[in-house]
Amino acid sequence: MSFPLLVLSATSRGEIKVKYLLITAAILLALIIGMKGMIEAYMENVQIITKISKGAEIEVSSSKPDSTEAIMVNISYAKIHETEVIIVSVDDVMSYLTLHKATLRGSPPGHHEALIGCNIRQYLPSDTFSINNVTFNISGIVIANDYLSYSIIISTNSAQLLALNWITVYEWNPSQANDSHEISVAAPSLPNIMNSITIEVRNTLFFISAIIYTMICITSFFLANSASLESQYMFKVLISIGTPLKRLITSLITLATILAILSTIFGLALGIFASSLISATVSIFFKLPYIRPAIYDHLAFDASLGFTMTFLGFLSGFLRGLMRVASRV
């Protein structure tokens, strides 16, 4: 009988107590798998909802897209009659209003003329107003549901009269875009928000998983070390009959590998099936919808990481125990 087989048979007889090693490592791994499976199931549903929801109708970027007809919009702020307003200058006012689905009551602004948003009309009741001592005539009122309702819209020529700090952005309708661009903001922004929330959840999950993996490694180490110490009689016998240390180490590597594989398999099984079972039981007894944990993309990675951590923990624990026994023989 080869030495690895000898060690394994001793293990099967209970001379090396591995029951707790398997269970503890498996439970910790199951915790990660179950937790991630449930959360990924939610996120999968969210992604589906996001995909079937209405796409963006307006997109904004600070850089000019190459192949799309985007409207260049210069934005600045000013205080008129103690009220903060947005000053907007564009070349083609009508296309800009069409993009924003805004209604114009009046005529497009000429030189020294401006359109004002419906929400600031009450602060600018007369037909003229001044910004930085430059007087503008109001040529129309813009009725809109977005920032235009708080804006003063002037032509690019008129904007040159004002000494303001302008921010330049590009706005376009994505349904008319030929390809995708770097987007700063898109509205409706539901898909972006869902992505941001997904990133947040994954961040938290990453930290919690990292801690649990470290705990798996430490727990496995101490469990294996304790198991070696409890089985010191068997090791003493094996060493005293002249078993080379190298062969014993090889045997323990085999044992650690098998235990790590088994605990990973148990962990995976427990993580997937126990969480499904808990979810199903809760849904039956508490009359809540059943959420089936997802077999997520990184499951194989988690399984490999779980295996690696348990293997390293078990091996180093066994070896430390063995060395301690060997040094006393």
Partner: protein
Amino acid sequence: MLTSYLLAQFIAISLTSWEALNVALSAGTDQTLIMEEGARSVFTSHVPLSLYESLRRYPNITACEPFTLTPTSIQNKTVIIRGASIEYLTACSKRLIRGKIPNREGPWAIAGIKAAKRLNLKVNDCVAVASPLRPTIMYLKIAGICAFGDPRDYEVLVPLPIGQKIAGLPETVVSIITVEGIDAKSLANLLNQKMKLIIHCNIDVRGWILILDSLNMPVSSQMIEGPSTLNFTLPFGYYKVAYQSSSVLSILTEVLLTSNTSINVEFFLGSTRTLKVLASKEDTVILQNKTGSQIHGIWSNGSWIFLVKPGVYTLQINDKSYEVPIFGNTTFDPKGLENVGYKVTIKVVSWNGSEVSDFLLIVEDKEGNVVTTLRELSHQVSIKLPEGPYHVRIYKSPYFVSTWIDVPKQTNIVIKLPKMISNPEKIPYRIYTSLKPLMPEEAGSYTLQAFMSLTTSYIAAAITFLLSLSVIACFVVQRHFYLSISDKIKILQTIGFSRGKLITNIGTAHLLLSLISAITSTIIAWAVFTLTKLDLILTIMGYGADFPATKTLLLTTLSVFVSWLTSILWLIKRIEEGKP
């Protein structure tokens, strides 16, 4: 030590994430909140803004605020945009650490200090915020950065109309209303019952009695042919009772409906009414109608009495003249005001918010005597009124509206003229939103149950399970500790150490070490949490939480103690079995 550190860090991260989730789902408030019943979260709730106007007039309620709450994405990071009233935002000046808060609504925002750090926002920055559900983009100027010391530190606050635009809500709807001074149960009783409003109308002409809510939106209507009694069934609210005919819209009275109520209203357009002028016989009192015809009065019982048809008249007393609208029996006291007291500014706007100029202002004291009238050509007028309640009426044909004010509590009054209802008989049947008042601690679990199908007990069970695993992890280490010193224990037993002595000597030292390790681990976990700014990294919908020091220390110590206890019991068992 490493295990207890990991345990402390694990507990801290789990607790902060849970705290952040709870804060996000309970709207970051510690007050009773009202949300729409059936809404899955505070973010999808729709509460009528008129309810806020009603609640703030309810005597038991000490504070009340409407909010919109919208999750948005700025620089690909989630943040909650909180829309709040301008009064609420200007009150944030006390918490301001940078910038200045404007005193008028507009495209500006206040960033909480944590949100500013997380999103790298500075004063005067311009940020583009998109609505999650509508094709609406708002460019907002960061006007200030505030340190609130509560969950608002993680939010961006904007004026209510901007918040409504971002949330995609109409002007008459908000996400939630927070309330102080009343418990959730009493509030639920108040909001969910229907009450009878019985109106005894003494009106001499055909027209419509309209019930308007506090935002002047028509709620119900009934036709009136002459003096009669009308019945309306309405939920709790502050209502205006108006009379409308083809040529006039008059607010007859206002009522805060908190139980079955009966009121009397009168309005006269046809029959002759009495104008009583409190003046002496020697005074020259002349009353003229619109065409300039003079109406003769008689002096009786210390006042001048004029019998007139309803309308607007010019009253001249000696060298002073007043314009007086008469739509009921009226008493005019020319000595009523002596231009002393508090300055009260009254602004008149139309239903769509535009300014209304050239109107007639009539101020009555609490006895119903007209103490002053004046015609104002601009949209705003300032008068001086002594302390007390006053009935302020505005006449601007065809509107005749009124409101009660309390000087000096209310000195800036905005009177909004209602919209003439073109088809009063076709006011649509109103479906009242079913509302649910919740205590802040209930809001999180309510949303979790509705949205994620998780009950608090389910989550509590999961946390207990995680803690049990932590205890197992600690136990493994503690057990190993006793195993590694088994030789020494054997020697001690040989030289005569009894079981009790062994436990006292080794167990006590071990317990002390474990407790010191728990405290040190919590301190290290706090240092790591603070240095790595985990409160800004581990966020849920933009909300983070500070390091939960007390809870982390308590739970880590508890876990370490339980694992110590388990391991010492295990040691006792081994000693009894004769294998230390």
